[in-house]
Symmetry: C2
Amino acid sequence: MVAKKDSTEYKILEAAKNVFVAKGMEGARMQEIADEAGINKALLHYYFRSKERLFEAIFSEIIKYAFPKLTKVLHSDSDITSKIEQFVDAYLNILIKHPFIPGFVMKELNRDPSGLFKLVTKFGIDPQPVFKNIKEAMDKGEIVQMDPRHLAINIISMCVFPFAVRPILSFVVFKDDKQALENFYAERAEVIKKFVINAIVVNNEENE
Amino acid sequence: MVAKKDSTEYKILEAAKNVFVAKGMEGARMQEIADEAGINKALLHYYFRSKERLFEAIFSEIIKYAFPKLTKVLHSDSDITSKIEQFVDAYLNILIKHPFIPGFVMKELNRDPSGLFKLVTKFGIDPQPVFKNIKEAMDKGEIVQMDPRHLAINIISMCVFPFAVRPILSFVVFKDDKQALENFYAERAEVIKKFVINAIVVNNEENE
DNA sequence: AAAAAATTTAACCTGATGGTTAAATATTAT
DNA sequence: ATAATATTTAACCATCAGGTTAAATTTTTT
């Protein structure tokens, strides 16, 4: 059940999200979350019982936000290249709006993978149907033959990784020029789609 | 200066690496590092002064190990596609031998980017010459025209990201089948090279 | 052999931190 | 109006954790 805007619970969730995203589960301090929510620290425990549970509430909310938008495009009846393009567009749309997600999720993935495992199981996320769909397209000669898992991880890697390494990317490549970095991110969807299509579609002279 | 094998300092560094990699800078406990090194906790401070400095010693050693192997292949006189292939081979070689590196480095990148910034500056890592080299190859028509930065980040993303998400990749795609995962990683170099060459080399019918 | 330096140790310190509690206050139900 | 429930608060607790210290021991230097 969703907390009403302006309620104490809502304020806690917003503050907790800000602090957990910035500092991580271990680095975040309950007093800092309370300060940012403008409440007494004891209330954090009154509403959420423990730091761990508060964190889980935030983490699952983030995962719950992103996953459906991605799996939805994969269950359409489009041909494989359209699906890939829609998937890339959907993914970049989410990442541009919420660029903190990859760094945050991957930090917590490596700290304690079981949390994400539970959510994956809970949401019934299963890539096998997607791999099967890709395999069928390969067998029909629509795209080149390769292990569908490699194709999937190639696409996801190009989508997510640049956001996950945002700090070092900004520093090394963009010299902390925020606008240039935003422009780079804005171009990613088109670049990835073209790159992938070029890599996998057979005899693709028309689009050269 | 390198610590002699079997010396206390060497034991500390090995133990610290194990614990920092597993738990991260914040999650690691000095007592646990001492226990694993088989020494009194005070010795950690005697040799390294603070937890932060001990961590920095480990972190820079890891970065120092990996970077030269990668930049070396980029400074050869080969044509661009050979360079890309050598780079991918070198990168995957390192990652397969030390699969913990991406998860660890990215976790610390997001916790405190300045540490990595300092190392990048210290080692004089500058991608501009590589971008220039790529651009020249594009202008000559050897590979398709695109922003060199996108090409570079595409390649690095496909190399690194699958290792960075190893826990969830193993869980979701490989059902914790370690051998299957290792096989997948072992195939990555060839898959990435072929994928990239297909994506960027013009009229590449011979290799189909 | 003796002195100096390096290394090691057990015990301790201080601040930080997640969590708890009893009481007060506010809100809701009767 | 009163009772019950929910919310809030200041103060506190107990443990944890990085770091320190004086003294003992070992090793190295003279």
